[in-house]
């Protein structure tokens, strides 16, 4: 080993660099070997999480669709029923009837009441409109429902327990011609009221808005039953 005496320091330096490289490479290889499976684990766990999330989302969607398939039909029926019951505002062709108290002054010996609009007059009008196939009727913004009352409350009119004063505006949705003719027919309600000077203005419109019933729909006494016939 005599030959190494020359430039021993240089060899030592080179060997040092070599050793350094060896150690770094060794550790890098260890790191790579260790890190690759670790990365794989992370990757797989991320994918698993994603899959689970997807699964949950799909399950939720499935439930949703399942329930909606049944609900859709129910909803359709429910919507129709709600409209018919007056719980939704409706729009369509129809008439707007405005009824006002008579401008004529009552003669001394005549009953003042004859010149005022009464619940009977309005009932007649509403009845006539319904007979003519009105689908929705409202009086001064109060939707006439199956349980709506229409009666005098002192000088005012009470519909759905809401009072209003004249003029009374009755809105009805239905066939325009039929509704109009039902009111204006000879010997009809319009003619009768005219005698007493009660003005009845019938306006037809392609776009009549009938508001929704805003009251409560809770039944206090009645209970739903399956019985179809009354048994004595």
């Amino acid at each position: 080993m005599v030959h190494f005496k020359r430039g021993r320091l240089s060899i030592a330096c080179v060997c040092m660099v070599l050793g350094f490289m060896l150690a770094v490479q060794f550790r890098s290889t260890q790191d790579i070997k260790a890190s690759v499976p670790y990365q794989r684990v992370e990757d797989l766990s991320a994918r698993l999480q994603q899959s689970e999330k997807d699964k949950d989302a799909l399950q939720a969607e499935l439930e949703d669709i399942k329930s909606r398939a049944g609900e859709e039909q129910n909803n359709k029926i429910g919507e129709d029923l709600r409209s018919a019951a007056g719980l939704t505002a409706l729009e369509g062709p129809g008439v707007v009837v405005t009824i006002e108290d008579s401008k004529k002054s009552a003669k001394a010996d005549e009953d003042l009441n004859l010149y005022l609009v009464h619940d009977e007059d309005l009932l007649k009008v509403v009845n006539e409109l319904r007979a003519a196939g009105a689908e929705a009727v409202s009086i001064n913004g109060q939707r006439m429902t199956a349980t709506s009352e229409l009666r005098c409350a002192g000088p005012t009119l009470s519909v759905n327990n809401v009072r209003s004063a004249p003029p009374y505006e009755i809105r009805a949705i239905g066939d325009i011609k039929t509704l109009e003719n039902a009111l204006k027919m000879r010997g009809g309600v319009a003619e009768t009221l005219k005698v007493w000077g009660i003005s009845m203005d019938i306006r037809t419109s392609e776009n009549v808005l009938v508001p929704a019933y805003k009251g409560s729909t809770k039944l206090k006494y009645g209970k739903v039953t399956d019985r179809q016939e009354e048994t004595p």
Binding site: G7, S10, I11, V17, L18, G19, A23, Q25, I32
Partner: protein, 110 residues
């Protein structure tokens, strides 16, 4: 010889204590450089055994071989030619060649 072994041990120690490691992207180049360095060292040993060891050639060969090998592999990587395996094969062959010569030298000596 003792100095060389000491240097090697010192280098390993420093490398082990050093906190950083080669990023995955450069591991290829570094391994080729390492192989070239190993080849240079074995070449130096062989030269010593043949009694024509030159200090300057050894040191310059050590560094240029390592750098050039890494550079060549890098260029090959860029051009889509996998020179990595070529370098591996060439340096590997040379290392074994040198080893064989060193072995013969020791056998002849003793």
């Amino acid at each position: 010889m003792i100095l060389a072994v000491l240097g090697l041990l010192l280098g390993i120690l420093i490398g082990t204590l050093c906190p950083w490691s080669i990023p995955l992207a450069y591991a290829k180049f570094f391994s080729v450089a390492l192989l070239a360095s190993l080849d240079s060292v074995f070449g130096g040993l062989r030269a010593a055994s043949e009694n024509n060891f030159d200090d300057v050639i050894f040191i310059s060969g050590f560094f240029t071989n390592a750098l050039l090998a890494a550079l060549l592999v890098y260029i090959g990587d860029r051009l889509g030619i996998d020179l990595y395996y070529v370098a591996l094969l060439a340096f590997g062959l040379r290392i074994f060649n040198n080893l064989a010569i060193i072995r013969r030298y020791f056998l002849k000596k003793h």
